[in-house]
């Protein structure tokens, strides 16, 4: 690992990137106070929704309040974007935590404002967070309409609270406020996954999500502690301007083993710890298992939190503290490897699932893996670009799936639905779903294609990361396959449908609190819904859902031009390269494919170009070709192959919803599909390796506590009691006994006097 890393770094250093003075964010300038409205408006929505809950409002009022507040927040965000200058803006609402000590000569303090650090990275994130949140809230107003008067207010309150927390996370000007947002989104995720709180599976999933996230949070917290201890501040602006920090960054950029040795071990530990936090929140390899289970929540939640925004917080963290990540030789390599492993693993699991929402969940995990791999191979631009595009098309996909689920009474099994896109009223859903699938599959010229491509190309360019590139390429094919497996089976082909087990109304948890989604209990009618399948009429989505789907689909096209705006990486690249995430990989310097310039500003580009020519051979290639030049074609072809395979296996000649040509292939693969369907038994493995031993340990502790710790205490109490019990029989209550004792006692006493006092 270290050797590999050293290779990478030497390569980078040689490429002229090692100039620490080349990196740096401009000093922050004070920002306007109204920025605070961005988180404040969702908070207002929380308060209003809570009031609705208290006054038991039985209309869609909470939804409209939420949509209104979020839209206003989006507008403010736009204004903020338009107000952006080159320097980050700082805006402080009030002092949150402030502890100071030290002498007057060297005052020390732990200072965390409730304040905002606005740079282009923040803007990028906040734009799609507030924008998507507004759209999805609109969608949810219809989607959740069955719960009006019941959990409607609760849902929107938590939804708004999520947006508030996310805003805190993204806009925070210090790591502790980021931590607040970080845990806040975790809480909202918990509350919203557990929205159907009568379903034990939902409660368990919520709990799992929260605890898994907490594991990551611990890493993040320790990372923050370490940053604070080493650099004496948790505020970005001060951290990035800190002399010691810049000096260490300089050592890292020099890249030789002597210079690495000048960075203390605990500083090298910081990115590792932060990474753990990012892995937890963004569902990366060891900690990803909560995300698929999180699909127990209502679909808008899945779309917003578990696909578009919250799960990208890990990416945001790494992007925000990208400089810190440079301080360890192995941190980014680990990020790349973990991301790749996650991408592949989740893709393989996704291929074998039948629950379409779960497939989308695994695809999210897989795509997050892509983003991490992108960060790991030094293309923060690519990663952020992918976050951006992914947010749109994955939200679109989820919402389309949600529309299906909504219309077919919770039915999500792709073996029980077919040809939905051709049914009356479902055309829009079908088309928008196709748009989303094409994006996800990386169909050429679509937004998803460009962003994925950037990561793939960079993986091949970065020295020592070739394997990562190949695996990611393979994953791209797999992604195309399973995406279109869903599309071909559910939206096209012969028309067929079976309602799910929520036929009384979508998500009608008051009727029956049990059960998951309907892939196991079709056919055997339950006692509480006696109607036959043919009585069921799917109800197509209404205007709100359709509107949102169309807007999102349009947006996924609309962002394509952004790819070509500005310098390298398009508009997103611009945004990223003006932020603390600005870091350009060497390969990007000589990539003039779309006429883009360099990511990291002018000073950077000179250094890059000057050193480019004679260090070129150290950079990776794709089969001897320039990755950026050929990757568009290669990845496009791979995507098309995946789609083709899916067509052949799942659409061609399929006559019913349940069977397909792919079934014939399954026996040839042996137990592998079953393993993949069971998620490679990772959950069981964790359960066996961590949960069960911990549970047993807890019981042992409980036993020890009662028997040993308390036992010793009780023993101390029992001893005198036992002594008393031994002596007590001598107190027979018989008068004679006492008299004999008394006489004998006097006799003995006198005898003593007699013998002693001679």
């Amino acid at each position: 690992m270290t050797e590999l890393a050293t290779t990478v770094w030497q390569g980078l250093a040689a490429a002229g990137l090692g100039a620490a003075e080349g990196w740096g964010v401009p000093p922050a300038v004070p920002g306007p106070m109204w920025i605070g409205l961005i988180p404040a408006l969702p908070l207002l929505a929380v308060v209003l929704c809570t009031l609705c809950a208290i006054f038991k409002v039985k209309s869609k009022l909470p939804a409209w309040l939420t949509v209104g507040c979020l839209a206003a927040s989006f507008v403010v965000t736009l204004l903020m974007y338009l107000n952006m200058s080159g320097s980050p803006m700082l805006s402080t609402a009030f002092t949150w935590i402030d502890v100071s000590w030290g002498s007057e000569r060297s005052p020390r303090n732990l200072h965390a404002n409730f304040g905002f650090y606005i740079d282009s990275l923040t803007c990028l994130w906040m734009l799609f967070v507030t924008g998507l949140a507004t759209l999805i809230a609109l969608y949810a107003s219809e989607y959740m309409s069955h719960d009006v008067g019941k959990g409607y207010s609760r849902f929107f309150a938590a939804f708004s609270l999520f947006v508030f927390s996310m805003a805190c996370l993204v806009m925070a000007d210090n790591l502790i406020l980021l931590y607040l947002g970080w845990e806040g989104v975790g809480l909202c995720s918990y509350l919203l996954i557990g929205y159907f709180y009568k379903k034990p599976s939902a409660v368990a999933a919520a709990k799992k999500a929260f605890i898994m996230n907490r594991i990551g949070d611990l890493g993040l917290a320790l990372g923050i502690f370490l940053i604070f201890v080493k650099f004496g501040t948790v505020e970005y602006a001060k951290l990035f301007a800190d002399g010691a920090f810049k000096e260490m960054l300089g050592h890292a950029m020099t890249g030789t083993s002597e210079s690495w040795a000048k960075i203390p071990w605990d500083v090298k530990l910081i990115p590792i710890l932060l990474m753990v936090g990012a892995f937890g929140k963004s569902a990366q390899f060891p900690l990803y298992v909560w995300l698929p289970d999180a699909m127990e929540g209502p679909t808008p939640v899945s779309a917003l939190i578990h696909a578009a925004t919250m799960v990208t917080a890990g990416v945001f963290l790494i992007a925000r503290t990208y400089a810190v990540f440079q301080l360890s030789p192995s941190a980014l390599t680990i990020v790349a490897i973990i991301g790749t492993v996650t991408a592949l693993l989740a893709a393989t699991i996704g291929m074998a699932q039948f629950d379409i929402k779960r497939i989308m969940a695994y695809s999210t995990v897989s795509q997050l893996g892509y983003m991490f791999a992108g960060l790991g191979v030094m293309t923060s631009v690519g990663a952020c670009f992918h976050v951006f595009t992914h947010a749109f098309f994955k939200a679109l996909l989820f919402l389309a799936c949600g529309a299906v689920m909504h219309g077919f009474a919770g039915q999500l099994d792709l073996r029980k639905l077919s040809g939905v896109g051709k049914m009356p009223g479902w055309r829009i859903v079908g088309i928008t779903m196709l748009v989303g699938c094409l994006n996800l599959a990386g169909f050429p010229l679509l937004a998803g294609f460009w962003s994925k491509d950037m990561i793939l190309a960079q993986a091949f360019i970065t020295p020592g990361m070739g394997l990562v590139g190949w695996v990611l390429l393979l994953t791209a094919g797999l992604t195309a396959y399973y995406t279109f497996r869903v599309y071909f089976r559910v939206f096209v082909g012969p028309q067929e449908h079976h309602p799910g087990d929520e036929a009384h109304g979508h998500d009608d948890h008051d009727a029956h609190g049990h059960g998951g989604h309907g892939h196991d209990d079709h056919g055997h009618a339950k006692a509480d819904h006696k109607h036959e399948a043919h009585d069921f009429h799917p109800h197509p989505p209404g205007w709100a859902i359709n509107l949102v789907l169309v807007v999102l689909a349009a947006a996924s096209f609309a962002i394509i031009p952004l790819t070509f705006m500005g310098k390298h990486g398009g508009w997103v690249g611009d945004m990223v390269s003006h932020s603390s995430a600005a870091w350009s990989a060497p390969g990007e310097h000589h990539d003039d494919h779309a006429g883009h310039s360099h990511a990291a500003g002018d000073t950077h580009s000179h250094a890059g170009e000057s050193s480019r020519s004679h260090d070129e051979e150290k950079l990776g290639t794709f089969l001897g070709m320039d990755p950026h030049a050929v990757m568009y074609y290669v990845s496009g072809v791979v995507g098309l192959i995946g789609i083709g395979v899916a067509y052949r296996l799942h659409l061609q000649g399929r006559t019913s919803a349940a069977t397909s040509r792919a079934d014939a292939l399954l026996p040839m693969l042996g137990p592998i599909p079953k393993w993949a369907q069971n998620k490679w038994y990772v959950d069981e493995f964790y359960h066996f390796l961590f949960v069960r031993p911990l549970w047993v340990l807890s019981h042992i502790f409980h036993l020890i506590d009662r028997m040993l710790v308390d036992g010793l205490v009780n023993l101390a109490g029992i001893l005198p009691r036992a002594l008393g019990a031994t002596i007590r029989p001598s107190q027979s209550g018989q008068l004679h006994g006492y008299a004999v004792a008394m006489a004998g006692g006097i006799g003995v006493l006198l005898l003593i006097v007699l013998l002693v006092a001679r």
Binding site: R728, Q731, G733, L735, H736, Y738, A739, V740
Partner: protein, 117 residues
């Protein structure tokens, strides 16, 4: 009458030496021992009380003998108090005995063992 006759037989008051005191004290001790033995062996509550009276007697003899030896009246005074206590004790104890007897129809001391802890 008897007393004056008895007094006439000796040169009253008898000169008391410590040897003569020893005689009385031995009698007192023996009587005390007998009372004690009775208290320990007999099971009838009334007899047990009689035995305590015996012990009072023994104490009385010793007190009077010392009183005589020292030629003052303190010992005799104390015997009066002993008498008082004996009387009080007899009144109370016998009342209790009657009470207990009514309850259990028995005078055995062993019937009453509720004092145990």
């Amino acid at each position: 009458m008897l007393a004056s006759w008895m007094l006439a037989q000796s040169d009253y008051p008898i000169p008391m030496t410590n040897l003569t005191l020893g005689h009385y004290l031995f009698v007192a001790a023996a009587m005390f021992a007998i009372g004690l033995i009775g208290f320990l062996t007999r099971r009838n509550l009334i007899i047990m009380f009689l035995c305590t009276e015996l012990m009072f007697q023994a104490a009385g003899i010793a007190l009077v003998a010392f009183s005589r030896y020292h030629l003052n009246h303190t010992g005799e005074t104390f015997v009066i108090f002993v008498l008082t206590v004996a009387a009080a004790e007899a009144a109370m104890a016998l009342a209790l005995v009657v009470l207990l007897f009514r309850r259990r129809e028995s005078l055995s001391a062993e019937e009453w063992g509720q004092m145990k802890g």
